[in-house]
Symmetry: C2
């Protein structure tokens, strides 16, 4: 976590996650929507009332929790009940104020209900397991990218001197949202995302302009969900910062 | 599994796995080698003598076994002891002769000992969990690609009429290896892999010719491991075919 708040470090993490997310969208788009994998009890009552995707996500988090994944301040679980780590704790100083912000319920719901129908063809191709495994990887990458807003917000807070404090103390969500918004930077991110999606998603052995997923769609996933939810995390973090009992900046 | 032996179906599966594998190599290459994650007991005795990567791979297979991943003829586990599926079995007719061919021990050993040192920078960046999670995904994709040789071999056997039978009956491994080898097709695959790696692995925001992993290295992973091991599966499958007690072709 050393230098975790340097702009260089944050930018390089975000840029790498961008590629993981784009790869993940392309991978998921090869399969049909397979709605049944999101339906509680859909593939069998044996999964304890969970959907297939929910079951695999929970199982994955259980095993990762054992090796202390969620003790890291940049990781956020989708499920509240997870086993304790079996490995001894790592000792590091988090640069963040202690907080309980976790948007994963919303991320999962938007993903299942809106993003999957956007990126995948309708229908069922029986590739349930492969689709669900891709979903788990993609949801975890999106969650990490979105919750990285905490690091971004902490860095902005420290860099802003006292500029953000009146907005935080007044609980001014709209003012904070405006303060953390930089339209020019967002447009730059969206253009880069679209360019990467065009490079990674191109169909080889096919004519020009054929894509496994249209670059505009990937751009839209960023414009509609990833960037706004990341800013929501920033605003919530800044508001919580005032009441937090953590170490002073 | 319908049409699983059509050349079109096999080619499209292999081409898609190619992209999963290349994405996986690029993802893993962002982290250092982190040798400690492959060392039994390396990150803590709490993992029951397994390495961190081995522990996560085993945990992943355990949960996927529960949802019947390994009942599918194109999936092969790395660990022999896995729980029974909790979902009821799917009924499908496998186009393959029953066989117990599984090269995963070798794939894992080559991967940990040779491929990781080839694709990742030496050293330790403390990204143990992320590296190991990438390893698990990549090993599973490589295993699927390599064991798809069974489908390729069955298709070749059926297409060859009686041409392969004398070699099989004589147990002629060298003859079979020559018979399943097509140098022109291999060169075509290697060129496509290198071209895809160049498109996917290019560093954005950097000068021309900067890659997250050199395309020649990705080509070499295919030339040195994936293609030869796939052919090894084909030869073993054809040899086992003679003695197999499965349904007649």
């Amino acid at each position: 976590m050393r230098n975790a708040l340097s702009l260089h470090s944050i930018r390089s993490v975000l840029a790498r996650l961008e590629e993981t997310i784009i790869f993940g969208l392309i991978e998921r788009a090869q399969f049909k929507q397979n709605r049944i994998i999101y339906k509680p009890g859909g593939v069998g009552r044996e999964l304890g009332g969970e959907s297939l995707m929910g079951f695999l996500l929970h199982e994955c988090e259980r095993s990762h929790a054992k090796v202390r994944r969620y003790t890291s301040p940049d990781e956020h679980p989708f499920f509240p009940s997870l086993p304790d780590p079996i490995l001894p704790p790592l000792h590091f100083v988090s640069p963040l104020k202690p907080n309980g912000i976790n948007l994963n319920q919303r991320i999962r719901s938007e993903y299942e209900g809106k993003i999957v129908p956007l990126i995948c063809q309708a229908g069922d191709d029986m590739q349930w397991g492969s689709s669900a495994v891709n979903d788990v990887n993609l949801l975890q990458a999106m969650s990490k990218r979105i919750h990285y807003g905490k690091f971004v917000a902490e860095a902005k807070y420290r860099a802003s001197g006292r500029a953000l404090r009146p907005l935080i103390l007044a609980g001014d969500r709209h003012g904070l949202l405006a303060a953390v918004t930089d339209g020019a930077v967002e447009e730059q991110v969206l253009r880069r995302v679209e360019a990467k999606a065009a490079a990674f998603g191109r169909e080889f052995d096919a004519g020009r302009g054929r894509y496994k997923i249209r670059p505009r769609v990937v751009r839209w996933v960023y414009a509609r969900w990833i960037i706004p939810l990341n800013k929501e995390v920033q605003v919530q973090y800044l508001l919580a910062r005032a009441s937090g009992g953590g170490p002073a900046a």
